[in-house]
Amino acid sequence: MFQDTAEGVIRVSVSNTMQALEAPTSETIVLKEFMSGASQGWGREQGRLVYNRLLTFVESRAGTLIFVISISGIDRMDISFASESVVEVARKFRGSKGFAVADVPDADMLENLEAAAARAHQPLMVNKEGRMIVIGLQPSQGSTEAFRFALTHPMVRAAQFAAAAQMPIANASMKFKQLWEQGFLLRRESVAESGGVEFVYFRIA
């Protein structure tokens, strides 16, 4: 049960067994508030400064699994800044906490976020006009269907997808595990009906 990982993960794991089937709630981070009010983000130096503030904040929210980073009020962001701040924090917590981006003002900034995420091999969920899209790392062809399935459910077990896609549970389980490891999904430990350990997977949205 107690894993040698971040404190937040341990706590979450403990609480999971007690309240197994509850989708995680998300918390919104207004990025501008972490930028000393600046409306533009550029360069590695500023990015690292913002990353440190984000890190402190996220670590103080041990029970929160999903953070929605709102870009509201920020006019411009270059690739280096996006890489050092938003993408780096998502990469740092890959597998244990999820980060989605919202309120991206234009295609240009989206392109910059995408370039930064792709470089770090990090998937990043983006709320684009109410529709969730993934930028950066894309799911492999073999796990795209499983990912789509997970996106349409607040939480999902491998057995559910296996039944829907008519494939062996072990196969479905492997796909979800891969999606979790790569940062597309989050998961919690739960107790299966058989009494064994089972993972419940959550979308980052």
Binding site: A38, Q40, W42, G43, R44, E45, R76, D78, I79, S80, F81, S83, R91, D106, A107, D108, M109, E111, N112, A115, A116, A118, R119, A120, H121
Partner: protein
């Protein structure tokens, strides 16, 4: 020993500047040279990319305690007046001699921000990070061509290019000398020149030592090949997760079919986009050029008619 660099009596871009530099008998940074004369004849019209390379060169030579003279045949009525309005003399080391004389007033202070067709040279100083610098430079482009159909795209692309290039100067230029950024819209030629110069070690000098450990496959590449990879796949001395800045910057410029000219201390590579990327087989490379410290980049962005 004296070194004399004579610019041609025509438009002088980076190509003409390099030709003039090579024609000088002894390279200006040669340790035997103690005095350098740069001549601007009648009809010589210096373009923005050549202007900031000249500025960097003159400041570097002055820093090396050489005597540096800039001689303007037409005085302030010619290219000297233009350079003055763009702030060339505001950034020129005070030890440099100007013939016939230093301008009596700073044209940049007189016209600053009000002349839509002219863009000022902006100083890049790593110790005084100017938050609004990319925006000011981009606004300058938009003042000149904001009514174009592709203006919104150009606005975003130009901002990102400036932000990344300026940040790159902070990262790679370990020098007490300032870097410079400037741009100019050439309506007649239908293009914008976006130029950024620094007087640091040069992009290759900071990258090469890290290649063996970070990117062993790239260690055997020539400078031209490596430069193409910096802009095509992103290569950084800090490892494989980094290097996306210059790559993304090139991707934006390529949308506007931009040529990229990169001058490094001893060589120069010109990249021409083909099939949506920069390629080695369309790169022009000049080696063993006269020494010019730093990295000097210029994107020539084509504008739609």
């Amino acid at each position: 020993m004296d070194c004399r660099i004579t610019l041609p009596p025509c438009w002088v871009g980076a190509n003409e500047f390099e030709d003039a530099l090579r024609r000088s008998d002894t390279p200006p940074h040669d340790s035997r040279v103690f005095s350098v004369l740069i001549e601007f004849p009648t009809q010589c019209k210096v373009m923005v990319d050549a202007a900031i390379r000249l500025l960097s060169l003159a400041n570097q030579l002055d820093q090396c305690t050489k005597r540096v003279r800039l001689s303007f045949e037409e005085g302030e009525t010619g290219t000297m007046g233009y350079l003055n309005r763009m702030g060339f003399f505001d950034n020129l080391s005070r030890g440099v001699e100007v013939i016939p004389d230093w301008p009596s007033t700073s044209g940049k202070r007189r016209y600053g921000g009000r002349n839509v067709s002219l863009v000022e040279i902006e100083r890049i100083n790593r110790n005084h990070r100017d938050e609004m610098l990319p925006t000011r430079l981009t606004d300058s482009i938009m003042r000149s061509c904001g009514d174009r159909q592709d203006a919104p795209d150009l606005n975003g692309a130009a901002w990102t290019i400036f932000a990344e290039l300026i940040d790159n100067v902070f990262s790679h230029s370990d020098t007490p000398l300032d870097g410079y950024a400037a741009l100019q819209v050439y309506s007649g030629g239908g293009h914008v020149r976006v130029a950024v110069s620094d007087s640091g070690l040069g992009i290759m000098q900071t990258l090469r030592p890290a290649l063996k450990s970070e990117f062993p496959k790239l260690a055997g590449l020539t400078d031209a090949e490596l430069l193409v990879e910096i802009f095509r796949q992103g290569v950084s001395r800090h490892g494989s997760n980094r290097g996306c800045g210059l790559k993304g910057c090139a991707a934006k410029a390529i949308k506007f079919k931009a040529d990229l000219d990169v001058r490094m201390p001893r060589n120069r590579v010109q990249l021409i986009p083909a099939h949506g990327t920069y390629q080695v087989n369309t790169a022009y490379c000049q080696n063993e050029l006269p020494l010019l410290w730093g990295t000097h980049l210029c994107f020539k962005i084509l504008l739609k008619a």
